[in-house]
């Protein structure tokens, strides 16, 4: 049975998974959840995803949620096809885990916070607060200074090969200009790294809209 991704064609976390599905050349069907009708908060949806969030994956009856966990599962299951996205040697794997932890602890809160303030809030009819937005960007800037240091010594965040952790940054990083910040372009090594990620066919295929490929 073809993989089913339950999510939204425009959602950041659904796109995180879709990029990886493309990198691994795994066909999938996108089942669109009606966010406007709060379908993700329905009892039926919560049977599958108890936190009432998108996306989740249905692999022939096996359900996985949390976009990064779904990506890891796909990368493990289809290790032998498409781009290699998880290192296999012990130390390479450890640096990969370190970089993954950095993405979630240092990059995501400020990037997602900034986007939430300037893009999601207006979408729901609330007024964004410029002070809050600026505070997120200030923090993100400090973290990206460290990314600049790391990326001046190696091509990608976990070493010289692309891994899942680089791809995880794309959805929120890509939306920052729309939110009003050119921060991803502000430091030379970070800018080069991010541009290379965004130029990949896997992101280009889904950046505006995710389509089923099966």
């Amino acid at each position: 049975m073809v993989l089913k991704l339950y999510g939204s064609p425009f959602s950041t976390c659904s796109k995180r998974v879709a990029t990886v599905l493309h990198e691994k050349q795994v066909p999938f069907e996108l089942i669109v959840i009606d966010l406007a009708k709060h379908e993700q908060k329905s009892a039926a949806f919560r049977e599958k995803q108890p936190f009432g969030q998108i996306p989740y994956l249905d692999d022939d009856g096996f359900i996985v949620y949390e976009s990064r966990a779904i990506c890891r599962y796909i990368a493990m299951k289809y290790a032998d096809q498409g781009t290699k996205l998880i290192p296999t040697d012990l130390k390479g794997l450890a640096i990969f885990e370190q970089a993954l932890s950095v993405e979630q602890a240092h990059f995501n809160p400020s990037a997602e916070g900034a986007i939430s303030e300037n893009i999601y809030k207006p979408f729901f009819g609330k007024a964004p607060d410029p002070t809050v937005f600026e505070a997120h960007l200030k923090k993100l800037d400090e973290k990206l200074d460290i990314y600049e240091l790391i990326l001046s010594k190696q091509k990608y965040l976990a070493g010289d090969e692309l891994t899942l952790v680089d791809l995880f940054h794309i959805p929120f990083g890509y939306s920052l200009p729309t939110a009003g910040s050119d921060i991803m372009n502000s430091k030379p090594h970070v800018a080069a790294w991010f541009k290379a990620l965004v130029d990949r066919p896997s992101w280009q295929a889904i950046k505006d809209n995710i389509h089923s490929t099966a």
Binding site: R46, P50, V64, Y65, A69, Y73, Q98, A105, I146
Partner: protein, 217 residues
């Protein structure tokens, strides 16, 4: 060379690694980093940990930071020592990753900030705000409702075996009570209470809950 854990015996993230080292009976030396004197922000320290945070490990010259990554690395390195804390079978591993991601997205943001507000701020000479703390606890409560459903069907967060995903919750979960919240003992969520009692009674957590000291394992 014995593993060196650079951190502070009383810090949450150092305790996360300390609990893991105790579970796996891995000998280690705790090297105390002087936070009061800002040692973790010194150029020498930033060479090892560029984010200026504790802990990091030195495994015979090999440096790794981020407490959860440290635990994962050591689990890979010592798969046959002590309990197995990350499953190897594909689907079980998928569910483990799901639970580990839930901890980071649905537990830590609220528990971490609540603990910072009431427990760390006074320590830093700042004034805690009760309303902020209460909001973080309320937000955490909404997530614990989903935990209650999950834990009504299985013993631990990733399935019926204890894994790293459960362990990761310990340090901040433990300090919620110090901040004034008994949310993890709230009997309106009996399965959460059952799970929390179980994981906090493990010898490895009991050994480090009040502070990490070196261990010859």
């Amino acid at each position: 060379m014995v593993l060196k854990l650079y951190g502070s015996g009383n810090s949450t993230c150092t305790r996360r690694v300390g609990a893991f080292l105790r579970e796996k009976k891995i000998p280690f030396e705790l090297v105390e980093v002087n936070l009061a004197q800002g040692e973790h922000k010194s150029p020498a320290y930033l060479e090892k940990q560029p984010f200026g945070q504790i802990p990091y490990i030195d495994d015979d010259g090999y440096i790794l930071y981020e407490s959860r990554a440290i635990c994962r690395y050591l689990e890979e390195k010592f798969p046959n020592q002590g309990p197995k804390l990350i499953p190897t079978e594909l689907k079980a591993k998928g569910l483990f990753e799901q639970a580990a991601s839930v901890e980071l997205n649905n537990f830590d943001p609220y528990a971490n900030k609540a603990v910072f507000e009431k427990v760390f701020k006074p320590y830093l000479g700042l004034t805690p705000d009760q309303a902020t703390f209460d909001k973080h606890i309320a937000d955490l409560g909404a997530r614990l409702d989903a935990y209650e459903v999950i834990l009504s069907k299985q013993k631990y967060v990733a399935g019926n075996e204890y894994t790293l995903a459960d362990l990761f919750h310990l340090p901040y979960g433990w300090l919620l009570a110090a901040g004034g919240s008994n949310i993890l003992s709230d009997e309106s969520r009996p399965n959460v209470v059952r799970w929390w009692k179980d994981i906090t009674s493990r010898d490895a957590w009991v050994a480090v809950k009040d502070g990490v000291v070196k261990s010859n394992a």
